[in-house]
Every structure is written in structure tokens, then in C-alpha cells.
């Protein structure tokens, strides 16, 4: 009963929220768009999984077992891990349910049910089910085992998302310094590891594939599928297969129980030496920076350049055998800060009323917010440039050009974001990562804006490096000046736009 009520309340809230954010027509349009994309994608994916399951099932004594085991593991543990890492945290508002006599396990199952209804996860569930059905069609004798396996894999897919998503949020909140250290250490070693990957001692692709194939047989999914019929070995493998999902459920229930009875820790703030500013712009900027640094997202943005520095050259090395990747690093890192530009009032939430009742114009508000976000971006970009130059030994000209590109992207996105912030404002949680996912229109604007801005910068950079590499710094400076000009020229119309939509922003921030 409680489970049904929780899931129904979540579904109703999500439905009402989407109506409120997008209006009724916008919601229906977005739903139709998502339904068509989801239907086509899921149909194709499920058909492919059905065929794969059937093909693998016909050769379970040979390569089929490896193929099925690897796919099952990738779809359950792999995608669960990926969705958990990239997702927006908790779906259920557990904090609001403290007053109700609900068991942690009920809360956990309600959370998992809510996750199962997310379009991507639902698509994966369909694919996983189709894979099991394919295996069952090919091997009807395995149907009882496949039923157990389907349940196991579904729990893993959902549980891994929840547990790992929570873990990530907790790490972002509490271990940011450790993360920076790990990132710095990884960064120091990454050129050597990448060189090893690409060096003379590397294995042939076929050998590596063989080694990988061999290790697939140790995966729990493969062991469960390939277990002999009956006997202690079969029982052992069943226990092995159940251990993962059981562990996820136990940890999940513990997390929910902890949250359900938690009391917030008292936060403190130094009072002296702060809040001295000369102009209203600076005051708004200071307030905004202070808020940003108190959020997991804001704190993560300080670590993000290090991740970009470690990750992007690796990817470039693997794909193109090219480690000189400063531009790619800068573009990747710049895109990470975009969400701050696209929801300037998000962290203020309902307190935006406090800002709006102050005797400051919309232009001042925008200037202050931009000052804060761009200062943060400048700090990130500068750290990135220094580290790329000193640790990865990128050329100075590439670092300077990259920094210019980084700032240009930020300026262009800020230009776009000030309008987006006034049209689709939404409250962001400051204590976790929940609710950070933007609405569909913002995703589309972000996507096309990113494609246009980063794409044109990347293309012109390639042209400059190809035909006149000596001019890469003037090119970067030119791009930055152009970005700054567009930014400055659109401030006045953007302020007028915000002025006209203050009420909309205020009423959206509940």
C-alpha cells in the first residue's frame, strides 16, 4: 500500500512539474517527441537483443556463453554504473517523508520503481528482457534459471544506479580534496600510461581481445548462465550471482533508512572579513560565488578541469594516437560550466524574491551573476592552462589559444544562457545532485548551441593549425574579443528581457 502511494505520488509530482515547466502544450509535445524517439530506439534495441540472445543461446557451449555473459553484465552492471554516475541523484523526496511511518525497504523499492520508469532505464529493461527471452527461445530448458537471472539483472541495473549515484554525490560533497589529489596523481601518470598503451610493447588487437574474452567467463552473469544443472557448483554460482544484487539492496535500504531519520548538520560561516563590496554588481557576484561554492556542482567544477586534463588526452590517444589535445581539453572543460550559465537563478531558488525586492536593476543582477560565473571559469581555465603547460608540456601558444577558446565558449554560452535563465528558470538543490537535470528545451538549446559554438571554434582552429600555425594565438585572442563584443552588446536587451520576465522567474522558483 505504502509503496503504491509513494510511486503514485512521485509520478504525479513529475507529471505536474513537467506541466508547470513546459506548460500543457509543451509537455505534450515533449512527451510525443520522447515517446517517438524512445519507441523507435527501444524497438530496434530490443529486437537486436532478442536476436543476440537467440544466437548466443544456440551456441552456449562455445562463444555464445561469452557473448551472452558479457552483454548481460554490460547491460546490468555496466549501464547501471553509467546511469548512476551520469544521473541526477535521488528521484524520491525522502527528506519530505520523514514524518510518515515508512520502512526503508519500502522507500528503496519505491525509488527503484521510479527509476524503472525513466525512459533510458526502461529501454534498457526492455533490452535486458528481450535478451533473456532470446536465450529462453534458444534454450527452453534454461527458462527457470533465466527467470531468476532476469530478476537479478533488473535489480542490479536499478540498484547500481541508486547506490552508485548516491556514492558519487557523497564523494562530491565530502571528498573533494581527495578527488583533486587523485586527479593530480592520475594526471601525472597519464602520459606514461598512455605511452605504454600506444608503445612498442603493446599487444596486438587480437591478443588483447582474446585476453578480454577469457576474463568474461569470470563475470557473475557468465558463471550463472553457464552453471551446470544441479549440484553444489550450481548452488554456489547461484549464491555468487545473488550476492551482488543483495548487497545493492542492503546498501540501498541502509542509505534510505539513514536519510529517512537524518538530521541536518549545523553549518557555520566565518563572519569577519566577508561581504565587503563596493558596487551592487560585486555584491551580487560575491553572493553568487559564495552559493556556488556551497553546492556539490560548484565544488565539482573546481575538480572538473583536472578530470578533463586526465580524460580527454587519454581518449585522444586511444582514438587518434594524438596526445597534444589542449584545445579538446579546453572545449570539454568549458562545456562543463555551461549549466551555470543556463540557470543563473537556479541556486537562489525561492530566495530569488529577496534579490528581486532589492533596489537593483536587472542589468546589475545579470552583471553580478555573470561576474561570478565568469570569474569561476577564468580560474578554472587558468588552472588548466598552467597544468597543461607544466605537466603535460603542451606548447605555450596552444595553452594561450586554448584558454581564449575556453573563455570564448563561456562568454557565448553566458550570452545565450541569460535568455535561457529567464525563460526556463528552475530551482536547483544545493545539498545534493538531485534535480540538476535541465528540462528538454534547455537540453536542446545547449546541444545546438554547443554544436555551433564549439564546432565553429574547432573548425577554425583546425584551419589555422593547418595553414598558419604561427597565428594560433592571434586567432584565439580574436575569437575571445568577438565573444566579448557579442556578450557586451547583448547585455542591454537581455536585461530588458529579464525585467519583463521577473515575475515568471519568481513564480517558477518554488
Amino acid at each position: 500500500m505504502a509503496l503504491r502511494a509513494l510511486v503514485a505520488a512521485h509520478a504525479q509530482s513529475a507529471w505536474n512539474r513537467s506541466t508547470r515547466q513546459l506548460t500543457r502544450g509543451g509537455r505534450n509535445l515533449a512527451l510525443a517527441f520522447i515517446a517517438v524517439c524512445w519507441g523507435v530506439g527501444t524497438l530496434g534495441f530490443s529486437t537486436a537483443m532478442l536476436a543476440l540472445g537467440w544466437a548466443a543461446g544456440r551456441d552456449l557451449d562455445g562463444r555464445g556463453l561469452t557473448l551472452a555473459g558479457a552483454t548481460l553484465f554490460a547491460l546490468s552492471w555496466g549501464l547501471g554504473l553509467m546511469f548512476g554516475l551520469t544521473g541526477s541523484g535521488r528521484l524520491l523526496e525522502v527528506g519530505q517523508l520523514k514524518a510518515y511511518p515508512v520502512r526503508p525497504l519500502t522507500l528503496l523499492f519505491a525509488e527503484l520503481a521510479a527509476r524503472a520508469a525513466e525512459p533510458l532505464t526502461l529501454g534498457c529493461i526492455m533490452g535486458l528482457t528481450a535478451l533473456h527471452v532470446g536465450l529462453a527461445v534458444a534454450q527452453p530448458g534454461l527458462i527457470p534459471r533465466l527467470v531468476v537471472m532476469l530478476a537479478v539483472h533488473l535489480v542490479v541495473l536499478l540498484g547500481a544506479q541508486f547506490v552508485l549515484g548516491e556514492l558519487l554525490a557523497a564523494i562530491a560533497r565530502r571528498a573533494r580534496i581527495a578527488l583533486v589529489l587523485v586527479g593530480a596523481l592520475a594526471m601525472g601518470f597519464s602520459p606514461r600510461v598512455a605511452a605504454w598503451l600506444d608503445g612498442p610493447r603493446r599487444e596486438h588487437g587480437f591478443e588483447r581481445l582474446l585476453r578480454l574474452t577469457d576474463s568474461v567467463r569470470y563475470l557473475p552473469s557468465t558463471r550463472l548462465l553457464g552453471a551446470p544443472a544441479g549440484g553444489w557448483d550450481a548452488l554456489g554460482r547461484l549464491c555468487e550471482g545473488l550476492a551482488g544484487p543483495l548487497m545493492l539492496l542492503l546498501i540501498g535500504a541502509w542509505v534510505m533508512g539513514r536519510e529517512h531519520t537524518a538530521h541536518a548538520a549545523v553549518a557555520t560561516e566565518r563572519e569577519k572579513g566577508l561581504w565587503t563590496f563596493d558596487s551592487p554588481d560585486a555584491g551580487i557576484a560575491r553572493l553568487h560565488l559564495s552559493t556556488l561554492f556551497r553546492t556539490p556542482l560548484g565544488r565539482y567544477s573546481l575538480v572538473a578541469p583536472l578530470f578533463a586534463m586526465v580524460m580527454v588526452p587519454w581518449v585522444m590517444q586511444m582514438l587518434f594516437h594524438q596526445q597534444r589535445a589542449s584545445l579538446a581539453v579546453f572545449i570539454y572543460a568549458a562545456l562543463g560550466t555551461v549549466q551555470f550559465h543556463f540557470n543563473l537563478f537556479g541556486f537562489d531558488g525561492p530566495a530569488v524574491a529577496e534579490l528581486f525586492r532589492l533596489p537593483v536593476s536587472s542589468a546589475t543582477l545579470l552583471r553580478g551573476k555573470h561576474l561570478a560565473v565568469l570569474s569561476l571559469a577564468l580560474l578554472e581555465g587558468a588552472v588548466l592552462a598552467v597544468f597543461l603547460r607544466l605537466v603535460r608540456e603542451e606548447s605555450s601558444s596552444e595553452c594561450i589559444a586554448g584558454l581564449c577558446v575556453f573563455l570564448t565558449i563561456n562568454l557565448m554560452m553566458a550570452t545565450l544562457g541569460r535568455f535561457v535563465s529567464a525563460v526556463w528558470p528552475r530551482t536547483l538543490s544545493r545539498s545534493g545532485l538531485r534535480g540538476t537535470a535541465p528540462p528538454l528545451p534547455v537540453v536542446l538549446v545547449n546541444l545546438f548551441g554547443t554544436f555551433a559554438i564549439a564546432g565553429s571554434l574547432g573548425l577554425t582552429h583546425w584551419l589555422v593549425m593547418h595553414y598558419a600555425p604561427a597565428y594560433v594565438v592571434p586567432w584565439g585572442v580574436g575569437a575571445l574579443l568577438l565573444g566579448a563584443a557579442v556578450f557586451a552588446l547583448t547585455l542591454k536587451p537581455a536585461a530588458a528581457f529579464l525585467e519583463a520576465r521577473r515575475e515568471h522567474v519568481l513564480l517558477s522558483m518554488k
Binding site: 541536518a264 549545523v266 553549518a267 557555520t268 560561516e269 566565518r270 563572519e271 566577508l274 561581504w275 565587503t276 563590496f277 551592487p280 555584491g283 553572493l287 559564495s290 552559493t291 556551497r294 537562489d348 531558488g349 525561492p350 530566495a351 530569488v352 524574491a353 529577496e354 528581486f356 525586492r357 532589492l358 533596489p359 537593483v360 536593476s361 544545493r430 521577473r502 515575475e503 519568481l506 513564480l507
Partner: protein, 247 residues
């Protein structure tokens, strides 16, 4: 020149009409209690007075200036304490007051002096460095009131100032309101506690379903009804319902 004047103010939220052609005027130094049931349109009216919401029709004038045409000038003259109290809750109390005071153009020294005085007067004594998010409801209320007064406004708008606070704080707020009135500041307050309005406000306005159904000096009101509650119930049509059979 009136301190506050509403000319046929109407406010729609989509298909819902929250405030319907409300008009009244207040001279400087007036103190008025704005009464009404939950959802009657009191808070929306106050938000239009403080410039947070724009009227769909009609206009609001504060000290002779149209709020829609002179938003910045109006905000400088108005001190508002909203009911929701969504304060900048990641600042400490003193930081918040200094921030607000500085945004109103006060220098740091004056801001700090006024903040200290207000905190002392309202007995707002949070543990050092605690951020507003961790304040109790009553402390947040006092802080919101302090921020509404720190820039010496000429019109003060208080939405439910007596809700959720202890008797001592209630007494302090009543004293502050009396002081404001004595200094010629115009005060508009809403509350559900009719006894407070009877004790404090020389004038009342009653809103029901967005319409102004009663407005005038309290003495005149009392001439026709023994108590304010009697008049209020008659105007808003509150009827006693039957018992709950299962309780």
C-alpha cells in the same frame, strides 16, 4: 500625497483571478491590518505593493510614484517582509543584514551598526557563524523583519509577522510597529490574529476572494459589530460545518 494608493488593481494567474479591482489609499503614517482567509489575495496584494508582482490591470502608487514605471525608486522606499521567508539561507545573520543594507546603498559602518542594533532589539542572538538555514522559524522571522527595516523605509509591508513566534518576540514586534507609526512610516500588515489587529491597527481592510469587501477605521467597524471577528465572519461568510462522524 498618499503614501500608498491602489487604483483598481487586478491580478490574474492564468485563468485564476487572485485579486479583483482592489482600490484604497493610505496617508503617510497610517497603520492598516489587511485581513482575509487563506488564499483570499492578501499576499498577492502585498507582493504587488512591493513590486514583486505586476498587476494585470490597474496600478499601484507608492509615495506618488507608479511602482511599474519606477521600480528601483519604489523598492528603495519599501521594506517588505514576505510570508514565505525564503531568505539567502547560506549566509549568517549578520552577513545577510550587511548584504541587504549595502545593496540599499548604506556604507559598511552604518550597515553593521544598524544590524547590531536590530539584532539586539529583536534579541536575535544566533550561535556565532551559524547560517540562516539552521535558524529556528522565529529567528528567521526576526531576521526577515530586520532586513525589511534596515534601510529606513517609508512604507513597510509585513506579511504574517506574528505567525509562529513566541510571546516575547510578538511584544517586541508590536513595539517596533508602534514606533514605526510614531515616526510617520506607513505600515501594511496581514495577520490571522484579529485580536492583534484590534489592539494595533486604527484601520482595517478585508479581502475575500480577491475583492475588497471591507475598508475603514476600526472605530467605525466596531460601531456596527461588537467584535472585529463578528464583522469578519459576516463579510467572508464563514459558517460552522457539522461534526466528523468518524472522529
Amino acid at each position: 500625497m498618499n503614501a500608498l494608493e491602489l487604483f483598481g488593481v487586478t491580478k490574474d494567474f492564468g485563468a485564476v483571478r487572485a485579486v479583483h479591482e482592489v482600490s484604497f489609499a493610505l496617508e503617510p503614517g497610517s497603520l492598516i491590518g489587511l485581513l482575509g482567509r487563506n488564499g483570499a489575495g492578501k499576499s498577492t496584494t502585498l507582493k504587488m505593493i512591493s513590486g514583486l508582482l505586476q498587476p494585470t490591470a490597474g496600478r499601484v502608487e507608492v509615495l506618488g510614484r507608479d511602482v511599474a514605471k519606477f521600480p528601483l525608486e519604489t523598492r528603495r522606499d519599501v521594506g517588505a517582509m514576505p510570508e514565505e521567508m525564503a531568505l539567502l539561507d547560506m549566509l549568517s545573520g549578520p552577513q545577510y543584514l550587511r548584504f541587504v543594507a549595502r545593496m540599499y546603498g548604506l556604507d559598511t559602518k552604518t550597515a553593521d551598526a544598524r544590524a547590531a542594533e536590530l539584532m539586539d532589539r529583536l534579541e536575535l542572538l544566533p550561535p556565532r557563524g551559524t547560517v540562516i538555514a539552521d535558524y529556528s522559524f522565529g529567528m528567521k522571522k526576526k531576521l526577515a523583519l530586520s532586513s525589511a527595516l534596515i534601510h529606513s523605509p517609508r512604507l513597510v509591508v509585513l506579511d504574517e509577522p506574528f505567525e509562529g513566534i513566541d510571546t516575547v518576540t510578538s511584544r517586541t514586534i508590536k513595539d517596533l510597529i508602534a514606533l514605526l507609526q510614531a515616526r510617520g512610516v506607513t505600515v501594511v500588515l496581514t495577520t490571522h490574529v484579529l485580536e492583534i489587529v484590534e489592539a494595533l491597527c486604527p484601520r482595517v481592510a478585508i479581502i475575500e476572494k480577491g475583492r475588497l469587501v471591507g475598508f475603514g477605521p476600526l472605530d467605525e467597524v466596531k460601531r456596527t459589530h461588537a467584535t472585529l471577528e463578528g464583522l469578519f465572519l459576516e463579510l467572508v461568510g464563514g459558517h460552522r460545518k457539522g461534526e466528523l462522524s468518524w472522529l
